[in-house]
């Protein structure tokens, strides 16, 4: 934290990087960079194929969503996926294949949202 090149900075670098000269990916915190934080997450047990809607609030732009299945398969349109409506108020988790499993979702948004 201090002055660098005439401006005030507040930075934390990752282990192994010099905080004064790290590349962009070498910081975990910079005064001029937004990070995203968890907005909500959850796990949904499915008995078979189906979809579950999850209500979201406070989002003014598209979030970043990561999905996970307890059968360790990866998401795809013919396996499982999620979709969010145009106003970012409803996330629908869809289990396409007719198998029982638990799907987890993790929604991330900028710090100024939610």
């Amino acid at each position: 934290m201090g002055f660098l090149n005439g401006g005030f900075v507040a930075r934390v670098s990752r282990p192994g990087f010099d905080v004064k000269s790290a590349p962009d990916y070498g910081y975990l915190f910079r005064e001029d960079t937004a990070s995203i934080r968890p907005v909500t997450s959850g796990s949904i047990p499915f008995g078979g194929a189906g979809s579950i809607a999850v209500a979201l609030s406070g989002l003014t732009d598209a979030p970043f969503v990561i999905l996970k299945s307890n059968d360790s398969s990866v998401p795809s349109l013919d396996n499982y996926y999620a979709k969010i409506n145009a106003t970012f108020t409803t996330l629908t988790v869809v289990n396409v294949r007719g198998i029982a499993r638990t799907l987890s979702y993790f929604v991330f948004g900028p710090m100024n949202q939610a």
Partner: protein, 134 residues
């Protein structure tokens, strides 16, 4: 030396603390975020072709982690992972191809001339993170 900030009720100096910020870990950091509408060219038969389109951003010097998804109307949903939410059965579910360089996204990569009925535009939602992909 490092920086650790724990949740209320946890001692930040202990291994088992629950941290809000830990310099031992990385975080997803946003480089640019936005959306871009790509207008199609009417083929004259009700279908449209979308051409390769660049989304420039300040050069990072490495290939960053990205997320891109497309939708084709103001009411269409965005999909995760980044599929396109087109309803045309011919293309439904096909991911719109895009490429990533250190200073730009290349949407409709390869000028792949997508042709979709009654969709005069598609809209890309994108996030480029400062985190390094490769």
């Amino acid at each position: 030396m490092g920086l650790w900030v724990s949740y209320p009720g946890y001692d930040a100096s202990t291994e088992g603390a629950k941290f809000i910020l830990s310099s031992d870990l990385d975080y997803l950091k946003i480089h640019v975020q936005g959306k871009l509408r790509i207008n199609g060219t009417n083929n004259g038969d009700g279908t449209y072709i979308y051409n390769e389109t660049d989304v420039p951003f300040p050069d990072l010097g490495y290939i960053p982690l990205t997320y891109v998804s497309f939708r084709w109307s103001n009411t269409a949903e965005l999909y995760y992972p980044g599929f396109t939410s087109v309803s045309n059965p011919t293309y439904d579910g096909n991911p719109v191809p895009y490429a990533v360089e250190s200073n730009k996204l290349i949407l409709i990569y390869g000028n792949s001339a997508w042709s979709m009925a009654n969709m005069p535009w598609i809209e890309a939602y994108y996030m480029v993170f400062k985190n390094r992909a490769v």
